[in-house]
């Protein structure tokens, strides 16, 4: 009986180890956004985003973006999104090089830029906002 318990206990231990190994494939941290200066219509406004990541060497994590009204311009490899103001005015942004958004060499983070391109003169002067959902698949 004692032997049986030891055997079961060993199996359990093995199973738990397997389980925890699968869970630890990628750990995604909280995204860090660089400060962004006000949009002046005459130049692009650029915000850098870093998503900390811990993955196993065998994992090939990829990043996808979703947001209300957002689309992917596959020809230009851009994610296109919109920010909205309280009065309904919209400001467009894009994330360049979507397919190239890959891990940095140290495999410690994803990095990408959110760019609000210049010359959106049809937007009145106010605050714009919108949620951007980042999904890491591994």
């Amino acid at each position: 009986m004692k032997l049986l318990w030891r055997s079961i206990g060993r199996r359990l231990w093995c199973l738990l180890l397997l389980g925890s190994a699968a869970q630890a494939a990628c750990v995604v941290g909280s995204p860090v956004l660089s400060p962004v200066s006000a949009y002046t219509y005459q130049t692009d406004a650029v915000q850098a985003v870093e998503v900390p990541l811990q993955c196993d060497l065998s994992d090939q994590p990829t990043l996808t973006f979703t947001s209300p009204g957002g689309t992917v311009d596959s020809a230009r490899q851009r994610y296109l999104g919109v920010l909205t103001a309280g009065n309904g005015d919209q400001l467009e942004y894009y994330i360049p090089d979507v397919s190239g958004t890959s891990l940095d060499p140290a495999r410690a983070s994803f990095r990408f830029q959110v760019i609000v391109p210049r010359n959106q003169w049809g937007a009145s002067s106010r605050s714009y906002s919108g949620p951007l959902t980042i999904t890491v698949t591994f």
Binding site: L16, G122, S124, S129, T135, V136
Partner: protein, 170 residues
């Protein structure tokens, strides 16, 4: 024991399949009102024509040379031009009010000068339907220059040049 083991399998399987992690970040940006001069007006110039003749200066029946130039600014939506200011030797923000400035002879060794008057009027203001400034409001300012009615016999014949500044406030 079998029951316990299968339960453990169920616990581990979802962990292996849950190969996605999502997080939502808020994107926020504030825009600042902006106006920009039309690049087509990069160096607006007024040619006073016909040439100045001191003897005709006070002769109102024979108008002296006068010229004008149109200067456009593009402002983002709902940003109006609040004030126009024309600056010479004097300055004004009142349409049609004259400022004076001096033109200097454009020739080495001479320092002769001619007085000239300048003034402005507000032109049209309309939304831009297309092009790089699509969505902006284009506001036109007309700047005029003309000779004063006081005769200026103290200047030698030649080509004279000078400048006034136009400041658009928004």
């Amino acid at each position: 024991m079998k029951t316990l083991l299968s339960a453990l399998f169920l616990l581990t399987l979802p962990a292996a399949l849950a190969a996605q992690s999502s997080t939502t970040i808020p994107l926020n940006i504030t825009t600042l009102s902006s106006c920009v001069f039309d690049q087509a007006n990069a160096s607006p110039t007024i040619d006073l024509s016909p040439a100045y003749q001191a003897g005709l200066a006070s002769n109102t029946s024979s108008p002296q040379g006068q010229g004008q130039v149109s200067v456009s600014v593009y402002c983002n939506k709902n940003t109006p031009v609040s004030q126009r200011t024309l600056i010479g030797e004097t300055s004004t923000s009142t349409p049609s009010a004259h400022v004076s400035t001096k033109l200097t002879q454009f020739s080495p060794g001479t320092t002769d000068q001619l007085n000239v008057d300048a003034w402005f009027t507000a032109g049209s203001s309309a939304p831009v339907p297309s092009g790089p400034y699509k969505g902006a409001t284009r506001s036109v300012t007309l700047v005029y220059a003309g000779w004063p009615t006081t005769p200026q016999f103290n200047a030698s014949s030649g080509f004279y040049t000078g400048s006034v500044s136009l400041v658009i406030s928004f």
